[in-house]
Amino acid sequence: MVSLAVKTGGVSFESPAILASGILDENGYTMKRVLEDGAGAVVTKSIGTEERNGYFSPVVVPEDTYLINAMGLPNPGIDSFEEEIKIALTAKKPVIGSIFASNTDDFLKLALKMQDFGVSAVELNLSCPHVQGFGSEVGSDPVLVKEIVKTLKGTIKIPVWSKLSPNVTSISEISRAASDSDALVLINTVRAMAIDIEARRPVLTNSYGGMSGTAIKPVGLRCVYEVRKETEIDIIGVGGISSYIDALEYIMAGASVFQIGTALMKYGRSIFMRITGDLEKYMISNGINNLEELVGVAVR
């Protein structure tokens, strides 16, 4: 009997395929539909203390094997977001609250609110690569990361996940700083840019953006593997997953569950059902009862 059920990062999931933060997770009805369409959980858009409109369009550069985006952390502010979470929770599956802030106090405030709203865990956005003062500017400072995670773990009751950036000299160093987390989410987007030679300027209004999709899978796998080699902490893999093969690569590199984001551009919401269905078939034909058997088997 194969089972896709898994408990990781302090949360139990019926399925290991989770919606990544930043994709289809601003509107409660959308999150609800993604859950109903087969996602094991959703991570919300990153929410801050105040309402932010984000950047003007263009905010995305879609290409065949990657997407570059600079949304600019649009969000309605934590208080207005309660309504969306309540709607999403009617699907009766885990909702993970992603939060961003520039300091420990704000992270704590946001986490406490998310806990009140009923999320299963908070995911700390320590890695958005394109907004000054937030994201990877916070997440590349090991001292600050350590303080934020420690403070939250000492105060809130729900699990704390830390989403880290690959745009650092040493992902191992930052992982150690975040080691009090219940799980590490690896990786956020790779800092990147697109230039249009006819317009003679960057395409994104913000110039810089984050690259996601197939093209960054080798970077995500490397980060997961590198961190798994030196720690036993739960890892949630994300970056360029669009098939069960990609998912298995992340699992064998050391991830227990995985998130899907950019692949929705090409495959739509049905990708969750397809990947979990393919995983089940793979497990049956390879005699695997639980994906846990494969976590980290490639690490040597």
């Binding site: 409109n53 263009p58 290409e63 997407l67 739509g268």
Partner: protein, 248 residues
């Protein structure tokens, strides 16, 4: 991928609306849209008002990008990506097109001899593509009453029997779509509605344009009555650019 396309013709349709024509060797179906980039100003979703070899976008100035875009002259270049979205169904029977504001732009490619149009606008000089319909197949509705029926679009529907048409196509502001939907939902009609919601990515990722979990940019912009039936958000609430929920 961003396409770089030369405008071949510019036509002013109303005091605030301009049509830009161009050759673009890509198959586009009525109802689909493109994202038009105005470097330094922004990017906006635009339905195509002509979908043959020669294509056309019909632009109403309402923000920075569109104000700049309508100044584009023949010979100048525009940037766009797409086409995106699900098109209108085609039908061989007689059609009723209901367009409010600049909504008639995305319906225009559907016009043929079997078509009746209800064209609604606030003022008489904003009536868009009215002339595309034969005089006896054209119902104009203006809020200022200076042309056609004085009133709103639903008053125009009174002038026809919706059940006479094999398909009804509707495009305009969401409030108007909802009013039309409510007016015809109990009738024995087929209808498709092209929805406009604020759109950022155009490719089904950012969640800005979603309605009841469906992305207007990829699941729409065209929805049929069955899809709209029971939608909680349709005509009631939407998200602002920040993601904040507001009433429509």
């Amino acid at each position: 991928m961003m396409e770089h396309i030369r405008i071949t013709k510019r036509v002013k349709n109303t005091p605030t609306v301009v049509s830009l024509y161009f050759k673009w060797n890509v198959k586009v179906l009525p109802g689909q849209f493109v994202m038009v980039w105005v470097p330094g100003y922004g990017e906006v979703p635009m339905s195509l008002s002509q979908t043959e070899d020669e294509k056309c976008i019909t632009v109403k100035a309402y923000g920075d990008s569109t104000k700049k875009l309508i100044e584009t002259e023949a010979g100048e270049w525009i940037f766009l990506r797409g086409p995106y979205g699900k098109p209108f169904s085609s039908t061989s029977g007689n059609k009723l097109l209901i367009g409010g504001g600049s909504g008639m732009a995305s319906l225009k490619p559907l016009i043929d001899r079997n078509t009746t149009g209800i064209i609604a606008s606030r003022t008489f000089d904003e009536l868009l593509f009215s002339d595309e319909f034969d005089e006896d197949h054209r119902i104009e509705v203006t809020e200022d009453g200076k042309k056609g029926i004085k009133g709103i679009v639903t008053d125009g529907i009174e002038a026809v029997n919706p059940e006479d048409f094999s398909m009804i196509y509707v495009c305009g502001p969401e409030k108007m779509l909802k009013a039309v939907y409510d007016k015809i939902k109990k009738l024995n009609v087929n209808a498709e509605f092209s929805m406009e919601r604020s759109m950022k990515c155009g490719i089904g990722l950012c969640d800005s344009c979603s309605v009841d979990g469906f992305q207007v940019c990829v699941d729409g912009p065209v929805f049929n009555m069955k899809q709209l039936n029971g939608m909680t958000e349709f005509g009631t609430t939407r998200l602002l650019s920040s993601g904040k929920r507001v009433k429509i």
